[in-house]
């Protein structure tokens, strides 16, 4: 599983230093723990690398995005505890199979693309004649075409377009027991006491509550009731009230 085009991307991370393709190999061999690897750092290093080179190689960029997306997906699944995985119906085997399939697909079609490129190159210099039919034949074309189309195709086309797409099934999404309104009033309560961190706001909460709380926080930000800052990726999120106005009391009701 080497990524030839990315071999030049040198990384210097907390848990690893060396070329990107080596990192990939080590992750797959479990010699580097995917959970300890900060993928944001890898992306930043790649952006630096791009800036230094001063050009965007689309092929390499595509490859990089596919690989990082696959790693990100695998990592996010690794981060779930096993009972929560049951909830989402994702097995580790499934995650591994999916990553493998994704990587094999990307590799397969890149090779197939190269093959098509070779085929096209082999045809270099082959030209075909593009000429209108001689004048004495042109009339024949238009004349004989009368009635040559079947009106049924129009009816079929309309039938195709009348078809409503099937409704998207939402059965697999578990019912929300936590409401945004609940979490909004919780956050407003905390804000009244001053600044706090996101971790404090969700201490001891389950994953769904964490997600809904984050959503409620976005809502507060949108309404101008709160601001937040994060010094570094994965760092603490500090939340402050807006000093210049105090609409919280009004809107809380």
């Amino acid at each position: 599983m080497t990524a030839v085009a990315l071999a030049n991307l040198e990384l210097d991370l907390d848990v690893f230093s060396g070329p990107f393709d080596l990192l990939l190999t080590l992750v797959l061999r479990e010699e580097v723990d995917l959970l300890e690897l900060q993928l944001a750092e890898v992306v930043l290093a790649y952006l630096d690398h791009l800036e230094q080179r001063g050009e965007l190689d689309l092929e390499t960029a595509t490859e990089f995005i596919v690989l990082v997306a696959a790693l990100l997906e695998l990592k996010s699944r690794l981060m779930l505890s096993s009972e929560e995985q049951e909830l989402l119906d994702i097995e580790p085997e499934q995650a591994a199979e999916e990553l493998l399939a994704r990587m094999l697909d990307a590799r397969r079609f890149r090779a197939a693309a190269a093959h098509l490129g070779e085929l096209l190159d082999a045809e270099h210099g082959v030209r075909f004649r593009i000429a209108p039919p001689p004048p004495n034949l042109r009339r024949a074309i238009v004349h004989a075409a009368d009635g040559s189309h079947d009106p049924q195709v129009l009816g079929e086309a309309i039938g195709r377009m009348l078809l409503m797409p099937p409704a998207i099934s939402v059965r697999h999404i578990s019912t929300l027991r936590i409401t945004v309104a609940e979490r909004l009033s919780h956050l407003r309560e905390l804000l009244r006491r001053g600044s706090f961190s996101f971790d404090e706001a969700v201490r001891g909460a389950d994953r769904m509550t964490v997600a809904v709380t984050l959503f409620a926080l976005l809502e507060l930000y949108k309404r101008g009731e709160a601001e937040w800052e994060q010094q570094e990726s994965f760092g603490e999120i500090a939340i402050h009230g807006r000093a210049h106005e105090a609409p919280a009391e009004v809107l809380a009701g």
């Binding site: 004649r129 075409a145 009635g147 079947d150 195709v153 129009l154 086309a157 309309i158 195709r160 377009m161």
Partner: protein
């Protein structure tokens, strides 16, 4: 047949590719050979493509040389060109044409809404082929389309009343709403 010298082969290829007659001067420039050598090559080809030998002839026309099909083959050529072509309309073109045929006059934005994807290239082709034409503007300034008399001829229809009844292909015939409204609804559901 025996192998021809390179210049003869190159001149033959150029005459084959060009839809217009080529002068010895043009051929000499392209082949980077002398005009005398090109004239000699043309003489070799003139013998090869002499009338009656093959299906293609070499002809001198207005100071240039051109390959043309032998007149004896004209009947077959006419049958070839007049055959109803198998894949005349792409699915995108058929859909766009069907929308115009059943809902005319109709604006391009509406066609796009029904199809869920842009119909620009399909409607350009249909305009080009004389199957649809512009029919003024909607109250919002969008160009309206309708089908042409040529459309009726090509589809063997005496009038638009003869368009096939779509009930046969209707997936939900119990729906009561107007055709236009139903198509717009389905298109928007697909696009979302």
């Amino acid at each position: 047949m025996s192998e021809q010298p390179e210049l003869v082969r190159t001149v033959e290829a150029l005459l084959f590719l060009s839809s217009d007659p080529l002068s010895p001067g043009e051929l000499a420039d392209a082949t980077e050979a002398g005009e005398g050598a090109v004239v000699a090559a043309l003489a070799v080809l003139a013998e090869e493509y002499a009338p009656g030998l093959r299906g293609i002839r070499l002809r001198e026309l207005g100071g240039g040389w051109t390959l043309a099909s032998d007149p004896d083959t004209e009947d077959a050529a006419r049958r070839l060109f007049s055959r109803p072509r198998a894949s005349t309309l792409s699915p995108a073109q058929a859909e766009t044409l069907a929308i115009v045929a059943y809902l005319q006059p109709i604006s391009r934005p509406e066609i796009t809404r029904i199809r869920g994807v842009s119909a620009d290239s399909a409607s350009a082709t249909l305009l080009d082929r004389g199957l649809i034409e512009e029919a003024g503007h909607s109250q919002f300034g969008a160009v309206l389309y309708r089908t042409t008399p040529q459309f009726l001829k090509l589809f063997g229809l005496r009038s638009l009343d003869e368009l096939p009844d779509i009930a046969r292909w209707d997936p939900t015939p119990e729906e009561q709403a107007e055709l236009r409204e139903r198509l717009l609804r389905a298109g928007e559901a697909r696009a979302s």
